[in-house]
Amino acid sequence: MPSDQERILARAAREIDPGQIVNLGIGLPTRLFHYLPKEMEVLVHSENGVLGCQLLTEGSEPDLEMIDSGGAYISTRPGASVFDSALSFAMIRRSRVDVTFMGAFEVDQQGNLANWKIPGKFSPGIGGAMELAQKVKKLVVLCSHNDKHGNPKILKQCRLPLTAPRCVSRIITEKAVMEVTETGLQVVDIAEGLDVDALRDATEADLIIDEHRLGRF
């Protein structure tokens, strides 16, 4: 039985197509690295100025000048490039990054995302999240379906300050894969063994569910 996070990551890896340029946010999304097939031709972008990051091989000495935006030491794969911060964000704002994965405090049925500030509690600064959220073609949110107190994180309307409005394409939690559509939040896949009523109970947002077309993951 995979853990909730493993289930999210394994499902998230299926959102990446060979040949794409992919950005992995800090935290859970960074671990997607481990779920990409080795032979898959994908260039991982890191906003501190690398296109073509690769995990360090076990036991190899790190190059102290090579980190990703989360601060972890990395290496590069064939076809990689390095560049300054203005160019890195030009790449983002010009939508040359195909897909980005991010965590969330809250996400809502309009595709609004809040993942950078909890007023009075947590405000270290937004870093690169705002431009990634606003400009990358496809934003996939990876998060737990509920917070640690059991409260829903998939809401009708975000209450925290937004990272960017109407920016989310898909949400993947341990319970469901949801697509943000014109008409609302459409459930694409539901977790193995979970029934639709239990999913609705755990969710504040209105969910559009067609039981005949529901996938399992």
Binding site: K117, P124, G125
Partner: protein
């Protein structure tokens, strides 16, 4: 600007140009590209009341983290300080004024000053909390936010290689804000692991031409190694 044949100097002389109260851009994203040796010399010389402009606040015991901890910094213009709990505490206690921008806007505001401009128009952040603090204008039938350029009196940058005229070559993810800041300050001091005679670096490999660099100093690999090795993530 310093004459090209007078730029190669000692770290003590270079940093002694900086008065208390100065505004200083500091290269680096996390540890790579942070000019640790120049910052340690600034700490040793005692300048205070500084305004620093840096992507992040390093970590509490390295780089600008040491200057913040010593109470030398009044104001920090940055993007994300999540790895420095001391800086967050100082901010929350009201002892450190912190101005935060989305990272790409911070980079572009600096690039813009370095290109001799005074600001640019953007759609980044429209409809979010940061938008409230900005002026917006109608232009070509659309609404944009105005982002003024950020300029500074000094920049401290880290390069891998330099020559005695101050031409700079960066390496790996240590590039980050360094070439942008080198152009956006009135007086740029560069540290490099090797400072070579002019002519050794192939012209087409130069990232920052010497016209933007006021002084260049050679630092031991070990002097910056300490900071880089202390990088904890």
């Amino acid at each position: 600007m310093t004459l090209i044949n007078q730029k190669y100097t000692s770290i003590e002389q270079a940093i002694a140009n900086i008065p208390s109260g100065a505004s200083i851009m500091i290269g680096g994203f996390g540890s790579p590209g942070t000019p640790f040796a120049l910052l340690d010399e600034l700490l040793a010389q005692g300048q205070s009341g500084l305004t620093l402009i840096k992507n992040d606040a390093n970590e509490p015991d390295i780089g600008i983290g040491r200057l913040i901890r010593a109470g030398r910094v009044d104001r920090l213009i940055t993007s994300h300080i999540g790895l420095n709990r001391v800086a967050i505490d100082e901010m929350n206690q009201g002892r450190l004024a912190v101005e935060m921008y989305p990272q790409g806007l911070l980079a572009e505001k600096i690039r813009c000053a370095g290109a001799g401009h005074y600001g640019f128009l953007t759609d980044i952040g429209l409809g979010t909390e940061i938008a409230g603090a900005r002026r917006e204008i109608e232009c070509e039938g659309k609404t944009w936010a105005i982002e003024p350029a950020i300029h500074a009196e000094f920049a401290l940058v880290h390069a891998d290689l330099a020559d005695e005229y101050g031409n700079l070559v960066y390496r790996g993810t240590a590039i980050n804000f360094n070439p942008l800041m080198a152009m956006a300050a009135d007086h740029t001091i560069a540290q490099a692991f090797q400072v070579q005679p002019p002519g050794n670096l192939p012209p087409e490999t130069i990232h920052t031409p010497c016209a933007f660099v006021s002084q260049v100093v050679q630092v031991e690999l070990a002097s910056s190694e300490q900071g880089r090795r202390a990088h904890a993530v």
